[in-house]
């Protein structure tokens, strides 16, 4: 059984058809990248999956269950988790407290402390733990939010541009993080513009264009696809 299945999903913003009959299936255990030009509707698709937006028509199935009508927090309880495009950390709180808030519903007391420590190490943020999250660099905020997202031990992790604002080395480290999580059994769906990252992690790639699934395949197939190159070029010229 597939982990996530989008069936004929449609969403309009006024006259704008942002999500146009999208069908997408994720198999458990895969790392899947979603790419496409600016405004293609990638983030909107995430918001539909998360229940922040509601589709005009179509269905969302998670592990076989139809979750289209569920509230966001209930979808999180089913095993979804997200890092937003604009890092959604708790800016006024310390790095440590950010993680504590994410972890506290599953762990208590000494166990909670140990989990926070483990996560800080995984993210490479030990020396920043007392910092106010709002003072972190953009890349560190991304990592902190990834840390908050994975502390829920999700079955499906949604990452919206996880490497935006990162140096090539940091991007590579983020790729390794994602691969380690995947090795532990986490399925990942990542929106990304950075092709080096996509090449590093993606097992399958879906191209979204004007709200529609435009192409799908391995990274090599996608890169070789002239139609795909054309829509990116078209955007560059526009």
């Amino acid at each position: 059984m597939s982990l996530l299945e989008l069936r004929e999903l449609n969403k309009h913003f006024g006259g704008l058809h942002v999500t146009n009959a999208v069908n997408l299936t994720l198999e458990p255990g895969e790392i899947h990248c979603l790419i496409g030009p600016n405004g293609a509707g990638k983030s909107t698709l995430f918001r539909l999956i998360l229940g922040e937006h509601h589709p005009g028509s179509g269905d969302i199935l998670f592990a076989g269950e139809n979750i289209t009508a569920l509230k966001s927090f209930a979808r999180i309880h089913r095993g979804l988790s997200v890092k937003f495009q604009v890092p959604g950390v708790f800016k006024g709180l310390s790095v440590r407290q950010n993680l504590e808030i994410a972890l506290q519903s599953r762990h208590r007391g000494a166990e909670l402390e140990a989990e926070i420590g483990r996560l800080l190490t995984f993210l490479g943020l030990e020396s920043e733990q007392a910092q106010t999250a709002g003072n972190l660099s953009h890349g560190q905020k991304q990592w902190l939010e990834i840390g908050m997202a994975i502390s829920l031990k999700p079955r499906l992790l949604l990452l919206d541009e996880p490497t935006a604002g990162m140096s090539p080395e940091e991007t590579h480290m983020t790729g390794e993080m994602v691969q380690r999580l995947n090795a532990d059994g986490m399925t990942v769906l990542a929106i990304e513009h950075d092709m080096a990252f996509v090449r590093q992690v993606a097992q399958r790639v879906t191209v979204l264009h004007l709200g529609q699934v435009f192409a799908q395949g391995s990274i090599d197939e996608i890169v070789a696809d002239e139609r795909v190159a054309a829509i990116y070029l078209g955007q560059a010229h526009a």
Partner: protein, 354 residues
Amino acid sequence: MTGFLSLFRRLEGPQTVGRGPGFWGLFAVVLAVALAYPLFSDGYTVGNTVYFFVWVFIALSLCIIWGYGGSLSFGQTAFFGIAGYGYGVLTLNFGSAYGFTLVALVIAVGIAALFAVLLGYFMFFGRIAGVFLGIVTLAVTLMLERFMAQTAGPEWHIGSARLNGFNGMSAMPPLTIPWPGEPIVLFADVGLYYFVLGLLVVVYLALRILMNSSFGNVIVAIRENPERAEMLGYDIRKYQLITFVIGAALAGISGVLYTAWGQYITPSSMGMTAAALPLIWVAVGGRSDLTSTVVGTLVVLAAFQALTIYGSQYALVFMGVLLVLTVLIAPNGLVLGVMHWLGRLAARFTQRAG
């Protein structure tokens, strides 16, 4: 001993300023002074001090809803009024024998809380937030004021309690503690002082524990970023509703104590000025901390009263100026700013000593 220590630990945390022996030593000194104070003062002055204490509960209600929770409620006075009138209606009907005034206190606060459940459910589950929350809560308190102001006629009564329109309700009994032999009547002097001081200490410490708990964590998370909080699996509407209801109960405590203190309550206690003042105390003190809220409220109230001698219009203008200055100089609150400054000073001092 370990139980005692762990309780102490739960009183401290990232959500409250002030920790360690230094803070609690100071706390003990202040408490001792407060306890000894009536011995060195006269009944009238003590009664006046109680009046200040009475308002601290409604200030704390704003502190947790607005300062910690990030939802600006402009209508805490609605719950103040409901509980105050509730106490009046109950005690005017059933008297003060057998400790009923204390039961009335609990019921009146409960009614205010119940009202908050209904209003809060409508607001938070209807996803009303930001400035709209302020507008709705303000509208509710002004509506209640208008309604109570037109209840002058004899047809407006609940049991034997006349509502009395604009003049308000009066002559309800003060709080009375049943005691073998003779019940202790808490008139607005030493007796009521110790009762309210005790209640204040208990509420303050309880709120410290609550705000430093995992519940408090979620509350500040919602203030910082509601979307992120929800995407960590929290049903934020529930947390907001619970905070709102706790806040309403605190405002209700103020309402009952105020009514019992002066043995009267009027519709203007739910009016525009009444609604605005707690916002100023809390903003000037420092809304995001319990201690700065308590200290700020008491200081501003004392200053306000000192100025009223020169005319209450000037005192109100002063309040406005104070608010503007706070927003400009220390947007997080003047008292809180001073507390942070003292904290840094103490840290530097211990660093040098160590």
